[in-house]
Assembly symmetry: C2
Homo-oligomer: 257 residues x 2
């Protein structure tokens, strides 16, 4: 939309020259000052509106919280719920290691807590029963929005039991260290990566707000439908696996070295 | 963010195979049904919230309306106000013809009216005093959002006086027709082009909500600052015009044929 050919730029300058606000007569200047005051008035009403929406959101978050708590007791009855949901979320799934399934088996709940003032942020908490991988019972990632809207992320860290971090460098039988290509999903609770804000917001907005659609795979299907619009030139007789291969490449994917 | 290398795709398939929801035992199936009900409950609360926000927005639109009306009486004291504001809006400016300034001289007001139910749309109205260009006193563009969120645009049309449409094909002294490269800004009130929804929303959200910042050129300066981030390789000694030229080209602009 911002496409402006060259001749337009010079044209804009000639238009500008005709209406230079620095050459205003005093009457017009007074009107501009008056306009400034009106504009401040409008802005104040808009700030009131924003404040009311925040209050409303806090009110409805409080309404939803007990339902989320109750939902978690239901989710606890479904084995592998969160792992399965993440597997079906095309954007979050790539962060899972196959080994993470063994860890997620000990996950007793996921909870996203809004801060009292919703504008201020939220905290993603995963609780775990006693397991062979780490000592922690709760892992968390905290997102706090500052006055400037800038997000500050903090994390719980993970106290891995020796040799149990699937994302850590491996020591081979010959005693050589082998770097892992991909870190475990739990990396999210161990450090801040540049994509973590986006990931945290996806977990909150998508996964947490409606995990069932990911558990059943409904949401994933929608995504598959979207991909069909890209009209990828693939022989329809080919097998599914080969289709996937072609699609990933069409999306700009690269096979790992 | 949706980058998924090939080996990930096959990996996802193996993960999926482990947790196929079609093989649920009856107890788990009952829990999934229960979860579905909880999710519907959450959705209902969210719909209530959306409804409350709409009501709040309607309430605040009503509060703002008299200020907008008053603002227009102030704006009427500033010559060339809307034309100057548009000249400084980098996205809307390219739609102005130099000849449009003569038409805008007769513009007595611009007004954006929200529909009673804000979700339903808005109407952009420009009123004009009697002039040599067209017979209309009000030109308008109407945006109506349907139940499906799809926008339907309609327009007033412009009843041009003979030979006065600056966007129309010109007849040269030799009697030959010469096509205009660019139509007048008033084309917006004469037809629906694919970009008109975006343009209408820009007029409403940007220009209408705070035209003063465009009139003074403040908002334009912000935009210029943004361009500086693109690190364009331009000798700082060069003149402004040449800067503009280079920047336009760096943005993918093309000189017209």
């Amino acid at each position: 939309f911002f496409f402006v050919p060259f001749f337009r730029a010079t044209f804009a300058m000639s238009k500008k020259a005709k209406t230079d606000p620095t050459e205003l007569d005093p009457k017009v200047e007074a009107a501009v000052d008056e306009l400034k005051k009106m504009q401040d008035k409008i802005e104040k009403v808009e700030e009131q509106f924003d404040q009311k929406v925040l209050e409303l959101q806090a009110e409805f978050d409080k309404k939803k919280r007990p339902i989320f708590v109750e939902r978690n007791t239901v989710i606890a009855k479904i084995p592998n719920f969160w792992y399965t949901a993440i597997v079906h979320h095309k954007a979050i799934e790539p962060l899972l290691l196959l080994e993470d399934e063994d860890i997620f088996a000990y996950c007793t709940s996921v909870f996203v807590d809004e801060k009292e003032n919703v504008k201020k942020g939220f905290k993603i908490k995963m609780t775990f029963s006693s397991n062979a991988f780490f000592d922690d019972t709760e892992l968390w990632k905290d997102v706090e929005y500052g006055e400037d809207g800038e997000a500050k992320l903090t994390h719980s860290g993970v106290t891995w039991k020796p040799g149990k971090n699937p994302g850590a460098a491996e020591t081979t039988a010959e005693g050589k260290k082998r770097d892992r290509v991909e870190p475990s999903f739990l990396r999210f609770f161990e450090e801040e990566s540049p994509d973590d804000l986006e990931l945290a917001e996806l977990i909150k907005e998508d996964l947490w707000s409606n995990p069932l659609q990911y558990y059943t795979g409904e949401a994933g299907d929608e995504f598959d439908d979207m991909e069909e619009f890209e009209e990828i030139d693939v022989d329809e007789e080919e097998e599914d696996l080969e289709d996937d291969e072609e699609e990933e490449e069409a999306e700009g994917g690269e096979k790992p070295k």
